[in-house]
């Protein structure tokens, strides 16, 4: 066992002490943070816009528009900065002329404080036609036009109601949308989980698993081939049993993977739970950040994911190690690994069938098939917690699968690592397995 540990330590330290690891591990969270915060950052309205309301309407519609615009703030709460600086101009019969002269002053940085950012034209029939015209330098900004439209629609609605004699306040109450609060029921029991967040969680878990299995599994494979090409295998083989070498490698690389995942996961969780605060610090729209559906992840779900990550990793990296041992160069491995990687992809794809019905017979069967079980069971469990018996059964099947794979892979590995020359054919490989 000490020998396996020596290999584990070597594989672990060799990878963790490299620049590549440090960069990847710490850049990863930066990347995630960027994805979360950047969209909000990019779309915010940065400064107060100077708007002129050119008013040709009667009945005070224009006044009310100007008033509402004046009181609009960033963040939509009373403590925010005002979005607009409004000048209310009456057309007084000379709409077109005034319009043209105002356009000439729009989007003119050279005018400094006297410039206009946008011009809102309220015609006589604006309300009847449900149409206002906005001319401005920021007309291309989706976020700003969206906010403007939102505000103006509200004013128009209130105005129409008032003119029809309906009390706007009464209507507001009546118009409050009905919310349907969802909660999952599992086999006659209330589970207390909501709808959409669980989908995201399931997908995220499967994706992370997929990336990790391939990324780290391939590292085991290339490490095996490199030991062949550097010829250090002959020395190793005279000191260790091949399975000790393989096991040490799998555990070493797996530990690096777990560490990296833990750092990323931990950072993601930290960022997610503080997302509104971070968004506010950056001056972005906090409400938008808050609406990102980040699910609450329970400990049980994480535990199941971890168990199947470990089991799946042993399963697949043993396969990758065996593949690596049959090749002589890293290039050869690129081709040879395709079947294994396809299996992993299959696992990822299979979860989509589960999303609709995690407890169908298809799903149940898949939980008992070792190559896909690492994906299927944790995802099913996150959508609809599995009874202990089903979990244990899936784990047991997986353990058996790992043992079988380790045995086969071990046989291939111990012969393959000393075979130089042409890449072994499939028939030869079968012979190695049988000969032992």
């Amino acid at each position: 066992m000490r020998k396996v540990w020596a290999v584990v330590r070597r594989e672990f330290l060799e990878r963790v002490r490299t620049k590549a690891f440090l960069i990847g591990t710490f850049l990863g969270p930066v990347f995630i943070a960027g994805i979360m915060v950047l969209p909000a950052l990019l779309m915010r309205q940065s400064s107060t816009k100077r708007i002129v309301v050119l008013d040709a309407a009667e009945g005070g519609f224009g006044d009310r528009i100007a008033e509402t615009l004046r009181s609009a703030t960033f963040g939509d709460d009373s403590t925010g900065e005002p979005r607009f600086q409004v000048t209310h101009l009456r057309a007084e019969g000379r709409l077109d002329a005034k319009r043209d002269s105002l356009i000439a002053m729009t989007d003119r940085r050279d005018l400094g404080e006297a410039r206009i950012d946008g011009l809102l034209i309220v015609t006589e029939d604006a309300l009847a036609r449900d149409s206002l015209e906005y001319l401005g330098g920021n007309a291309g900004s989706v976020a700003e036009m969206g906010s403007l439209q939102r505000i103006l629609r509200q004013v128009a609605l209130t105005e129409k109601l008032a003119r029809s004699g309906i009390d706007p306040l009464l209507l507001a109450q009546t118009m409050r949308p009905l919310t349907v609060v969802t909660a999952k029921v599992n086999r006659g029991e209330l589970t207390g989980q909501s709808g959409e967040s669980t989908f995201l969680l399931a997908y995220a878990m499967a994706f992370v698993l997929y990336i990790a299995l391939i990324l780290y599994g391939m590292q085991v494979m290339t490490s095996t081939v490199e030991e062949k090409t550097s010829r250090i295998n002959e020395v190793l083989v005279s000191s260790l049993r091949p399975y000790e070498l393989m096991l040490g490698k799998v555990i070493g690389v797996g530990s690096v993977g777990l560490l990296q995942m833990a750092i990323w996961g931990g950072t993601a969780w930290l960022l997610a739970s503080n997302r509104t605060r971070i968004a506010a610090m950056m001056g972005a729209d906090a409400t938008q950040a808050a609406t990102l559906p980040i699910p609450d992840i329970s400990g049980g779900v994480i535990l199941v994911l971890l168990i199947f990550f470990v089991l799946g990793f042993f399963f697949y990296s043993a396969a990758y190690a065996a593949v690596g041992s049959t090749c002589n160069t890293v290039q050869e491995t690129q081709q040879a690994q395709i079947p294994i990687t396809l299996l992993v992809v299959l696992g990822l794809i299979s979860i989509f069938r589960l999303l609709d019905d995690p407890n169908s017979s298809f799903a149940r069967i898949m939980s008992l098939v070792p190559p896909v079980a690492p994906f299927v069971t944790p995802v099913r469990n996150s959508l609809s917690p599995l009874p202990l018996t089903e979990l244990l059964l899936s784990i047991a099947v997986m353990v058996l699968g790992v043992m079988a794979m380790a045995w086969i892979a071990g046989r291939i590995y111990r012969t393959g690592i000393l075979m130089y020359g042409k890449r072994a054919s499939l028939r030869e490989v079968f012979r190695w397995i049988r000969a032992g």
């Binding site: 000490r2 020998k3 020596a6 290999v7 070597r10 330290l13 060799e14 030991e227 550097s230 010829r231 250090i232 295998n233 002959e234 020395v235 190793l236 083989v237 005279s238 000191s239 260790l240 049993r241 000393l418």
Partner: protein
């Protein structure tokens, strides 16, 4: 008679197209430095790999330490230096040595102490924290040699350990090997450089094209060559001696190295006659000595000049 450490019993190994080792038998006695000699392609590495259980013989068997366990099972008692050198390029020298020792079962602390000690002994103390890839080839070989002996094995098997080394490093490692053996360990090493074997070995086995050609204690082998060899050195004009040396009344076989030569007297020839003829030639003798044949000469005589020529490339004797 103590149990041999290695017993090779009528072993044959075939690869596609040719027979690498043919019905080979040999024994390595405990505490001895045993040389396995032969030209390139003779089957030395193949034989060694069969001892180490890296390949399996097609016929015959190999027994280590008197038992039936294979080379891989006895890894703790054997130190193996393969012909193809292999180290992890990116590891630091000290870490690598500690790893090699730990993988043989040496506890960590002892591994660290011994590694540091050997590095100093071989003049690599300053390089302990450098990466393997930063070392020259000779230094890497010293590191690999160290890795082979760190766990204090009873039996050391070295496949072409001194090839490619400059004279200084070659001497260093050869001395280290002899010192190691004198502590009571058994050493088997293969080489095609006869001078090394001559200086170091107690016992010698020569193989050529898979067949054993000579096998026995070095002293006996040399004595068997008889007192019919003469070692010569010229200091004035070696070319003048050529006609004499080509004269088959005096000389049976000749190894002409230019300014020096070694020859076997023709049957019935008197060394005094040869001496007179050489002096008369005017080549200028600085050495005329009746000697036991060198291992090189024995090798050539037994294996043939062609094989000897192949053995002479590409390394020069250190």
């Amino acid at each position: 008679m103590p149990e041999p450490v290695i017993r090779v019993d009528r072993v044959t190994k075939r690869f596609a197209g040719h027979t690498a080792v043919r019905d080979l038998s040999l024994e390595v006695s405990p505490g001895v430095i045993h040389g396995l000699l032969g030209p390139n392609g003779a089957g030395k590495s193949t034989t060694i790999r069969m001892m180490m259980d890296i390949i399996e013989p097609d016929e015959g068997r190999i027994s280590l330490f008197g038992g039936s366990a294979g080379g891989r099972d006895l890894s703790a008692r054997i130190g193996f230096l393969p012909e193809e050198r292999g180290l992890y390029k990116k590891m630091k020298v000290l870490d690598h040595l500690v790893f090699l020792a730990e993988v043989k079962g040496v506890p960590r602390r002892a591994a660290q102490a011994r590694s540091a000690e050997w590095l100093d002994r071989l003049g690599l103390g300053d390089w302990a924290q450098k990466r393997i890839e930063d070392l020259s080839k000779g230094m890497q070989q010293k590191v690999q040699f160290t890795g082979t002996v760190l766990h204090d094995p009873e039996l050391l098997i070295l496949d072409e350990p001194f090839s490619g080394l400059d004279p200084v490093n070659s001497k260093l490692l050869r001395d280290a090997t002899v010192a190691f053996a004198r502590q009571g360990h058994t050493v088997l090493f293969s080489t095609h450089i006869m001078e090394h074997a001559e200086q170091m070995c107690d016992h010698v086995t020569i193989i050529s094209r898979g067949l054993k050609v000579v096998d026995g204690p070095l002293r006996e082998i040399k004595r068997e060559g008889g007192q019919r060899h003469v070692a010569l050195r010229f200091h004035r004009d070696a070319a003048r001696a050529t006609p004499v040396l080509r004269d088959h009344r005096y000389v049976a076989t000749l190894e002409d190295h230019g300014a020096s030569a070694e020859l076997e007297l023709a049957p019935g020839a008197d060394p005094d006659d040869l001496l007179q003829a050489l002096v008369a030639s005017g080549a200028g003798l600085s050495r005329f000595e009746v000697v036991e044949p060198s291992l090189q000469a024995i090798f050539i005589a037994r294996v043939g000049a062609e094989a000897a020529r192949a053995a002479a490339l590409p390394e020069a004797a250190a």
